[in-house]
C-alpha cells in the first residue's frame, strides 16, 4: 500500500510568493522615491527662504539666506549661504563656518532683489530717485519707499513691454524685409553669374525636341485610335510623356539666366525699398531710444551692508544705482506672511514656465524649452506612426511569410537595441548633411544632360513594364510574379538616382548656403524628429504587427465572405481592429522619443534658440530652426552651468517638467486610445 506524503511547505509556494511580493514592493518603492524626490526638491526650489543678517567674528556683516547645512572636514559644522551680489566680486554662494558667526538676526527691511542680469542682490533698500539735469531728486524714502516703488516698478514694466513690442514687432518686421531684399539681390546675382546646371540648348535643338514631342503624342493618339498592340500604345505614350517633360524643362525662357539689365533693375528696386526700410528702422529705433532715456531716469538704491555699496546699473558703472526696470521682483522675505510667500512661489513658477531664459539659462523661464520638447515629440509621432504602421502592414499582411520576413523581423528588433547616440551620428551625417545639403543646394555632382535623360527613360520603361506585368493579378488570388517585383525595385532605385543626380535642381536655399549659412543643411528640428522617428520605428512596427496579428481570422474571413478585396479588408476591418494596439505602439514611441537626449545633441538641440520653430512669420512652421529640449536643458543646467549652486534647483524643476510633459502627452494618447477602445470593443464580448 502506498502511503501518501503530506504536502510539504515548499510545494505550497508560500515562500516564493513572499519573494514575488518583495520584488513588487521594491519596484513600487523605487518609482515612488524617484517621483517623490523630484517633486519635493522641485517644490522647495522656488520657496521663499528667510534672509539672515550675520555678524561675523571679525565684526563684518553679511546678508544671505540658508541653502543647507553640513558637517564638513574635521567635524566643523558649516552652512551654505546664498549671498548674491556677484557684482561686488564675490561668489553668489559661500560657506560660513558656524563658529565664526557671532550673531544672527532677521532684519525686517532686508530684501532679496531678483534682477534681470547678474543674479540676485541682498540688501537694504534706501530710496528711489529720479535723475535730473542737476542731480538726483528723491521720490521715495523710508515710509514712502514701498508705495513709490510699486508705482515706479509698474511703470517701468510698462516701458519694458513697450520697448519689447517695438523691438520684436516693427523693428523685427523691418529687419525681415531688409533681409528678404538683400537675399533677392544676392539670388539674382548668383543666377546671373553661374548658369545653374547645363547650358541652355540652342533654339534649333529645342525646336527639334518640340517637333519630336508633337510627333510622339500624335503617334500615341493614332495608334490608340487604330487599336494597335498594347505594348506599342504604352511605348508611344511613355515616349510622348518624356518628350513633353524634356520640352517643358528645357524651354529657352525657363533655362535663361537673368541678363545684366535685369540684375540692375532688381538692384535699383531693392535699393529704393531698402532706403525706405532704413528710414523706418531709424524712426523705430529713435522711439525705442526715447523710451530708454525716460527709463534711465528712475533708479533704486539697495545697499549691501558689508560694503555699503548699492546695487549698480552695470559692472562698468559701479557708481550709478540700478534702474527700476532692472528689477524683476523684490522679495521682502522676512516680512512676508505664509499666503504672500505662496504668491511669490506662484509668481516664480509662472516666471519659470512662461518667458525666455536669461543669463545662460540660469534664470528666467523655460517656455521655449517646453515648446521645443512638445513640438519635437509631435513631429516625431507624425513621422514614425504612418511609416511604422505601413511597414508593419506590409510585413504582416502582404509579404509572404518565410525566411525573408523572419530576417526582417530580427533586423527590426535589433534596430531597437542600437544605442541612441548611434542614431544621432547617422542623423547628422545623413539627414543634416546629405539630405539637408541636397535640399539647400541641389546635387553636389549632377549628371550631364544626356546620361540623366537616359536614366529617366530607363526608369519610365521599367515602370511601364512593371505595370504591365503586375496588371493581371490585381483582382485574382494569385501572387505577383517575380518579374513585377524586380521591375518595381529597379524602378525605385533608378528613381532615387534620378532625383539625386538631376542637373535641373540647384536647391531651394542655394544663395544662403553660398553665404555660409545653410538652411536645412544643418542641425534642426526636422532632422532631429526624423532621427528620433528612426530610433522609435522598431517600437511602432513591433506593436503594430502584434496588433494586426491579434485581429481574429474569423473577422477577415467575414470580410472576404462579403466580397471585400484584400485592401478593403485591411482598411476597413484589420486597421480599425488593430487601432488600439497601434496607439499603444505610438504611445511607447512618444515616451521613448520625448526622453532621448544623446542623439538630439548631435542633430538639433541647442543651448539657446532665440526663435521658436513655430511663429507668426511666414512660413509659420520653421522646421530648419534649432530648438531647445528639456532633456538637453537638464544636462546643460546640471553640468555646463557657470554657477552650479544657482542652477541646481532648476535641474529639479526642469526634471519635474520633463516628467510632467511626458505624462501629459501619454495621458492624451491613452485617452484617445480609450475612446477608440470604447467605440470598438465592449465588455459584452
Amino acid at each position: 500500500m502506498i502511503v501518501k506524503r503530506r504536502t510539504p511547505q515548499s510545494a505550497s509556494g508560500e515562500p516564493i510568493v513572499w519573494v514575488f511580493g518583495l520584488a513588487l514592493v521594491a519596484s513600487l518603492a523605487a518609482i515612488v522615491v524617484l517621483i517623490g524626490m523630484i517633486v519635493v526638491r522641485a517644490s522647495e526650489s522656488f520657496w521663499v527662504r528667510p534672509i539672515e543678517q550675520l555678524t561675523l567674528a571679525d565684526g563684518s556683516q553679511r546678508l544671505g539666506s540658508v541653502v543647507r547645512r553640513e558637517v564638513g572636514e574635521g567635524g566643523v559644522s558649516r552652512t551654505l549661504y546664498q549671498v548674491g551680489n556677484r557684482d561686488l566680486g564675490q561668489g553668489s554662494f559661500t560657506w560660513i563656518a558656524d563658529r565664526e558667526v557671532e550673531g544672527v538676526s532677521r532684519p525686517a527691511q532686508a530684501v532679496m532683489l531678483e534682477r534681470s542680469a547678474w543674479g540676485v542682490w541682498f540688501g537694504l533698500p534706501t530710496r528711489i530717485v529720479r535723475l535730473t539735469e542737476g542731480g538726483a531728486e528723491p521720490l521715495g524714502e523710508g515710509d514712502t519707499f514701498w508705495a513709490e516703488f510699486e508705482r515706479q516698478h509698474a511703470e517701468a514694466i510698462e516701458r519694458e513691454r513697450a520697448i519689447e513690442a517695438l523691438d520684436e514687432g516693427e523693428l523685427a518686421d523691418v529687419n525681415r524685409e531688409r533681409e528678404a531684399w538683400r537675399l533677392r539681390i544676392a539670388d539674382v546675382r548668383r543666377r546671373a553669374s553661374e548658369s545653374g546646371g547645363p547650358a541652355p540648348l540652342p533654339v534649333w535643338a529645342w525646336g527639334v525636341a518640340v517637333l519630336a514631342a508633337c510627333g510622339a503624342g500624335a503617334g500615341a493618339v493614332a495608334v490608340r485610335r487604330v487599336g494597335g498592340a498594347r505594348a506599342w500604345r504604352l511605348a508611344l505614350a511613355v515616349l510622348a510623356f518624356l518628350a513633353v517633360g524634356f520640352v517643358a524643362i528645357e524651354a529657352p525662357w525657363v533655362r535663361r539666366a537673368p541678363s545684366a539689365a535685369e540684375v540692375a533693375a532688381v538692384q535699383a528696386e531693392a535699393e529704393k525699398a531698402l532706403a525706405t526700410l532704413d528710414a523706418e528702422a531709424a524712426s523705430v529705433e529713435a522711439r525705442i531710444k526715447a523710451i530708454e532715456a525716460e527709463d534711465a531716469k528712475y533708479r533704486v538704491e539697495v545697499v549691501d551692508p558689508l560694503t555699503g555699496r548699492f546695487a549698480p546699473e552695470s559692472l562698468s558703472s559701479p557708481d550709478v544705482p540700478m534702474r527700476v526696470s532692472q528689477v524683476v521682483r523684490v522679495v521682502r522675505a522676512n516680512e512676508l506672511s505664509f499666503g504672500e510667500k505662496l504668491r511669490v512661489l506662484g509668481a516664480r513658477w509662472w516666471e519659470f514656465l512662461s518667458p525666455e531664459p536669461r543669463e545662460a539659462n540660469s534664470e528666467g523661464g523655460v517656455f521655449p524649452v517646453i515648446f521645443g520638447t512638445v513640438a519635437l515629440t509631435i513631429l516625431l509621432s507624425l513621422a514614425v506612426v504612418p511609416l511604422g504602421v505601413v511597414a508593419a502592414l506590409y510585413l504582416r499582411e502582404y509579404a509572404k511569410q518565410g525566411l525573408m520576413t523572419s530576417v526582417l523581423r530580427v533586423a527590426v528588433n535589433n534596430l531597437a537595441g542600437v544605442p541612441s547616440v548611434v542614431y544621432g551620428v547617422f542623423g547628422l551625417g545623413f539627414f543634416c548633411y546629405a539630405v539637408g545639403g541636397y535640399v539647400d543646394t541641389g546635387p553636389a555632382e549632377p549628371l550631364p544632360r544626356l546620361p540623366w535623360w537616359g536614366l529617366v527613360a530607363a526608369m519610365a520603361v521599367i515602370m511601364a513594364a512593371a505595370l504591365t506585368l503586375g496588371a493581371g493579378v490585381v483582382r485574382g488570388p494569385g501572387r505577383r510574379g517575380w518579374g513585377a517585383g524586380l521591375c518595381w525595385s529597379a524602378a525605385v532605385v533608378l528613381l532615387i538616382v534620378v532625383v539625386m543626380k538631376t542637373p535641373y535642381f540647384d536647391g531651394f536655399f542655394a544663395t544662403r548656403a553660398a553665404e555660409g549659412s545653410p538652411t536645412f543643411g544643418a542641425r534642426g528640428i526636422l532632422w532631429a524628429s526624423l532621427t528620433l522617428a528612426l530610433l522609435t520605428l522598431p517600437v511602432v512596427i513591433v506593436a503594430t504587427e502584434e496588433a494586426i496579428a491579434a485581429v481574429p481570422r474569423s473577422m477577415r474571413e467575414g470580410s472576404y465572405g462579403c466580397g471585400a478585396t484584400k485592401w478593403q479588408t485591411v482598411r476597413r476591418v484589420v486597421i480599425p481592429g488593430a487601432l488600439p494596439g497601434i496607439m499603444t505602439g505610438a504611445i511607447l514611441a512618444m515616451a521613448r522619443g520625448a526622453g532621448e537626449v544623446a542623439p538630439l545633441m548631435l542633430v538639433g538641440a541647442a543651448k539657446h534658440a532665440s526663435e521658436l520653430p513655430v511663429s507668426t512669420d511666414p512660413p509659420y512652421l520653421h522646421l530648419d530652426r534649432t530648438f531647445m529640449h528639456l532633456g538637453y536643458h537638464i544636462f546643460d543646467l546640471g553640468y555646463m552651468s557657470q554657477d552650479l549652486e544657482a542652477t541646481r534647483p532648476l535641474v529639479w524643476t526642469t526634471t519635474l517638467l520633463l516628467i510632467a510633459i511626458v505624462l501629459i502627452l501619454n495621458s492624451i494618447a491613452i485617452a484617445v486610445r480609450g475612446r477608440l477602445r470604447g467605440r470598438l470593443v465592449s465588455a459584452a464580448v
Binding site: 473577422m555 474571413e557 467575414g558 465572405g561 462579403c562 478585396t565 476597413r572 470593443v681
Partner: protein, 283 residues
Amino acid sequence: MTISTPQRGYRVVDAIRAGEAVAPEVHKAARTDDPVLEVHGFSLWYGKSRALHAVDMAVHRGKVTAIVGPSGCGKSTLLRSVNRLNDLVDGVRTDGDILLNGSPVYGSGVDVITLRKRLGMVFQKPNPFPMSIRDNVVYPLVIDGERRRKVLNEAAERALTAAALWDEVKDRLRESALGLSGGQQQRLCIARAVVADPEVLLLDEPCSALDPVATLRIEELIHQIASRYTVLIVTHNMQQATRVSDFTAFMYLGRLVEYGPTAAVFQSPHLPETEDYVTGRFG
C-alpha cells in the same frame, strides 16, 4: 473521430473506408431540373490530404438544404468551396467545378470578388466587424461602392428587419456592434449576409457558439428567410436539420453518402448507415 461499434454491415461506408469510389444514394425527390448550385465531381486537397472526393450534388432553388455528417467529413469545406474562401488557405488544390446559377465558380476567368458578392455567408462564431451596427450591416454594399446615405440606411433597416434584430437595435445603430450579445451578433451577421440579396445564403454551423434560446431564435429566423432565399446550412445537430431544412445531405470522409428530402432521410433512409447516424448510433 470515435466510431461506436457498427451493428450491421455498411455497404457504402465500408467501401468509403476502404477507399473505393461509391455512388451516393440520391433520392428521386432530391433531383431537380433547376438547381441554384450544381456540384460536379468536385474534389479538394489541403496540401497532400484530400478533403473532398468528387462530390456531385444539386441544391434546390428556394429551399433549405442541410449538410450533416461527423466532424471532419468535409461539410464545411464543401460550403467554403462555394464562395472560394478556401483560396485563402495555402496549398489548396481543386478539381471539378461548381456552377452557381449556371456560371462556373472555378476556372481561370472567374472574378472571385464578384463571385463572393453574389453569395452571403454566416460563420460558426459571430464575427461582427469593429465598427457600428449600421456600418456592419451595410458593409457589403459599401465595399461594392454604394455611398448614398439614404440607400444605405434603407438597406440597413430592411436587412435588420429581415434578421429580426431591427426592434432591438434601431435606437443604437451608431454604437459598436461588439457590444451586442452573442445571439444578437449572429443575427447581425445574418443581416449582413442578406443585405446584398445573395443568390445563396451559406450558413456554417451558425448556432454552434450560441445558447439554446439564441439558437431557437436563429432557427426561427432561418425559417422566415427561407421563403426568400436559397439556404445551404452545415450543422452537426440532427434536430436542427429536421427543424429547419427541406433537404438533407449526409457526408462521410469527404464523400456524399445519401441525399434526399429531410423527412425521408430521417424517417426512411435508404441506407442503414444513414439511419444509424441520424439516430445517433453511428458517427
